[in-house]
């Protein structure tokens, strides 16, 4: 059974995503979760969990920040809250949080971003209680095939959305603006990009929040043409990240992947269905953002 996981940017969008057929919402609050489209209040988190559960759906809560001591002091209060409202999983990347989870009845998925690249790493965290893991975006499909043969828990794959490729604790944009004496915004809403020297066509998203500065891959990932292969290889947990795809556009993108899921499950995923899904995604993907398949088709030996 394929599981489609999607971020949400509002209560209304979350409900639309569930109605569209998303299996699991991936939400949280900015204090503890990384790079979320929206920071939901505790009341909203509780409501969404109840609402999803009433529909037989799931909610995963992002608690995947790199936690410094001040946050570690505050986090037990949040974990207490979560233990009470019972999301299906929390998503964790900091080993310190995993240490704390010994005292909680909360199941967790391991997500340390760039550091999850080998089945044995995931199996290590499985022994420490992880029920799943989120695969780094830098793992080509050739390696994913081998990884699948060894891994003991379901492994999430980003099939749509932006890939974070850099997290600094420094306010890199504000430092620059202070140097150039520009008055500028550095938040995600400002919509800033950087391009590589001599590659003016590139457009890496960049913004700051309380976790630091985040930079995203040149193009967003779209694996609609690869989902068949993924499903056949045993990668049946698909994540859609709507960080840069707003409102109804993201719901439409989700529908494309849900149509793929349903068609794959009923054996009707043919060229025509694939083309329709691809067109739906293209139509709704923000025009200023590119799409590609990331590291999926790369020859592992091409990466030095």
């Amino acid at each position: 059974m394929i599981e489609v996981i999607a971020t949400a940017e509002s209560m209304a969008q979350a409900e639309e995503l569930l109605a569209a057929g998303v299996d699991t919402l991936y939400i949280g609050e900015e204090e503890y979760g990384l790079r979320l489209p929206h920071s939901f209040t505790r009341t909203e988190q509780k409501q969404l969990i109840e609402s999803a559960h009433a529909k037989g759906k799931k909610v995963n809560i992002a608690v995947n920040g790199i936690m410094h001591p001040d946050k570690m002091k505050k986090i037990p209060e949040y974990l207490d809250f979560l233990a009470e409202v019972k999301p299906d999983n929390i998503v964790v990347g900091d080993t310190g949080v995993i240490f704390l989870l010994q005292n909680y009845d909360l199941s967790y998925i391991y997500d340390a971003e760039t550091l999850v690249t080998n089945a044995r790493q995931i199996n290590f965290w499985h022994k420490k209680g992880a029920v799943g893991a989120v695969l780094a975006r830098e793992v080509p499909f050739e390696e994913m095939k081998t990884l699948k043969q060894h891994v003991e828990v379901p492994t999430e794959v980003l099939v749509y959305g932006a890939t974070c490729i850099h997290q600094s604790k420094r306010p890199l944009l504000n430092n620059y603006f202070n140097y150039t004496k520009q008055t500028e915004e550095s938040s995600k809403d400002r919509g800033l990009f950087i391009s590589e020297p001599k590659k003016a066509e590139t457009h890496y998203s960049i913004y700051e929040d309380q976790h630091g500065t985040h930079i995203f891959a040149d193009n967003d990932v779209n694996l609609i043409n690869e989902v068949d292969e993924l499903a056949q290889t045993g990668y049946q947990t698909w994540k859609l990240d709507g960080l840069f795809t707003p409102g109804n556009q993201f719901v439409e993108v989700a529908k494309a992947f849900i149509s793929a899921k349903l068609a794959l499950e009923t054996g009707t995923w043919d060229e025509k269905a694939q083309l329709a899904a691809q067109q739906l995604i293209q139509k709704n993907h923000p025009v200023e953002r590119g799409m590609d398949t990331g590291f999926y088709h790369l020859d592992p030996n091409a990466i030095k």
């Binding site: 790199i66 704390l100 080998n118 044995r120 060894h150 490729i165 600094s168 420094r170 430092n175 590589e196």
Partner: protein, 413 residues
């Protein structure tokens, strides 16, 4: 004066080659870290064969020093093959610890090479006491803190844990959380977490928005701003804060730079060794000497600051605009022997120099003096004006006694 029971932290220096290992230890490092042929993060640093490791360990033993091996790559499928045998071999050679961040490698090391100490690499971004407790429960001996940890946080982490803490005190820094940056993978097809980092952060970027579909509108477009966006961190030095590090119970003071020269390694190890010894000997009357600071600047490649220890780094801790001119010294030779009766030193050339040059001799324990070269002879006893050939052996009269292993540097013109 009340005698405090201060723990002397180890000065841990980088050693990219056997020569650098010997230099670092000779100049006061209590421990060095090196790379093996595999599993490391510095594929381009000179890495050690097992034979070289054996020689390095034997050399270190004479000084009571330790040798660690960095095996801090983030493995992809298959990269972990052979790691068990590798770790066993390291243990049997007498390597004191391995520095690892990948839990797959940690597990392999712990199960297949019991007895070999494991230190958690900074690549794992350890920023809280709970993380240290987790790894202590897994049997690790030491955790290298993330460079983003402030002094206040470090103190708090120390109060709440009893596993060994290693902290960076000098050298170049990642601008990201270490391990959480794949700019290099995406921009250069080189895996930052497997030794291929192309230092993309130090490039110059155009910063822009796209208010009109796909048209880029650069923030520097109106011409007032000429400096391009970049993310290049200045280097770290904690020379002025050694008391803070010792009082807060740091067990190991780490110097970055396996790719750096023996000039750097000798200079930096020498300075921190002197500072640590000085504080431990008499903390109440300790002063950070200006000559230590001056000395570090002689081996500096970038501006120096204190990283995250006392504030979140600002634009002043990044390289923007015209660089301040750092007086650059070049390493020109090393002393092979010294004849007390004649006052003549035999020297191996490492960079060209000439009669009339102002040069500086330095050696372990902060032995220092400057002099002008009055005359030189080549290995056939012929007088020469210039020493142009790399590794050539020559003799010259020196103003003060020197010892084998002393180094010579000269200010660049």
């Amino acid at each position: 004066m009340t005698k405090r029971n201060l723990k002397r932290p180890e000065v841990l220096a980088p050693a990219g080659t056997l020569e650098k290992l010997k230099t670092a230890i000779h100049y006061g490092a209590d421990a060095v870290y090196i790379g093996g042929d595999a599993y490391g993060l510095r594929s381009r640093a000179g890495n050690f064969s097992f034979e070289e490791m054996e020689e390095g360990v034997a050399f270190a033993k004479q000084y009571g020093a330790k040798v660690y091996v960095a095996a801090n790559m983030v493995t992809h499928e298959g990269n972990e093959k052979g790691a068990g045998d590798f770790f066993k071999k390291l243990r049997d050679i007498g390597i004191s610890a391995v520095i690892v961040s990948d839990p797959a490698l940690i597990e392999i090391c712990a199960t297949e090479a019991p007895g070999l100490e494991i230190h958690l690499s900074t690549q794992a971004s350890a920023t809280n006491a709970e993380t240290l407790k987790f790894w202590q429960n897994e049997g690790l001996e030491r955790v290298v803190l993330a460079r983003e940890v402030s002094m206040e946080e470090l103190a708090e982490i120390r109060r709440n844990t009893d596993i060994q803490i290693e902290a960076f005190i000098h050298g170049a820094m990642c601008i990201s959380y270490s391990g959480r940056c794949t700019l290099s993978n995406h921009m250069s097809m080189r895996d930052a977490n497997r030794g291929g980092c192309s230092q993309s952060c130090r490039w110059k970027y155009d910063l822009f928005d796209m208010p009109f579909a796909q048209e880029h509108r650069s923030l520097t477009e109106n011409g007032d701003v000429t400096e391009e966006f970049s993310m290049s961190a200045v280097d770290m030095t904690m020379i002025e804060h050694i008391p803070d590090l010792i009082e807060n119970g740091v067990d190991s003071l780490k110097i970055e730079g396996r790719m750096k020269s023996i000039h750097y390694v000798s200079t930096v190890a020498n300075v921190y060794k002197a500072a640590v010894d000085s504080y431990i000997a008499d903390p109440d009357n300790y002063v950070c000497k200006q000559e230590w600071i001056d000395e570090l600047w002689k081996a500096a490649q970038r501006e120096l600051a204190t990283g995250f220890y006392y504030n979140v780094p600002t634009e002043n801790e990044q390289l923007f605009g015209p660089r301040r001119k750092i007086p650059v010294y070049k390493f020109i030779g090393e002393v092979l022997s010294y004849d007390e009766t004649t006052g003549i030193a035999t020297v191996r050339q490492r960079n060209h120099f000439s009669v009339g040059d102002e040069i500086e001799f330095y050696g372990p324990n902060f032995h220092h003096f400057e002099q002008t070269i009055t005359e030189m002879k080549n290995d056939e006893g012929e007088s020469i004006d210039r020493a142009p050939n790399p590794m050539m052996i020559l003799t010259l009269p020196v103003a003060q006694p020197v010892k084998p292993g002393d180094m010579i540097r000269k200010k660049k013109d």
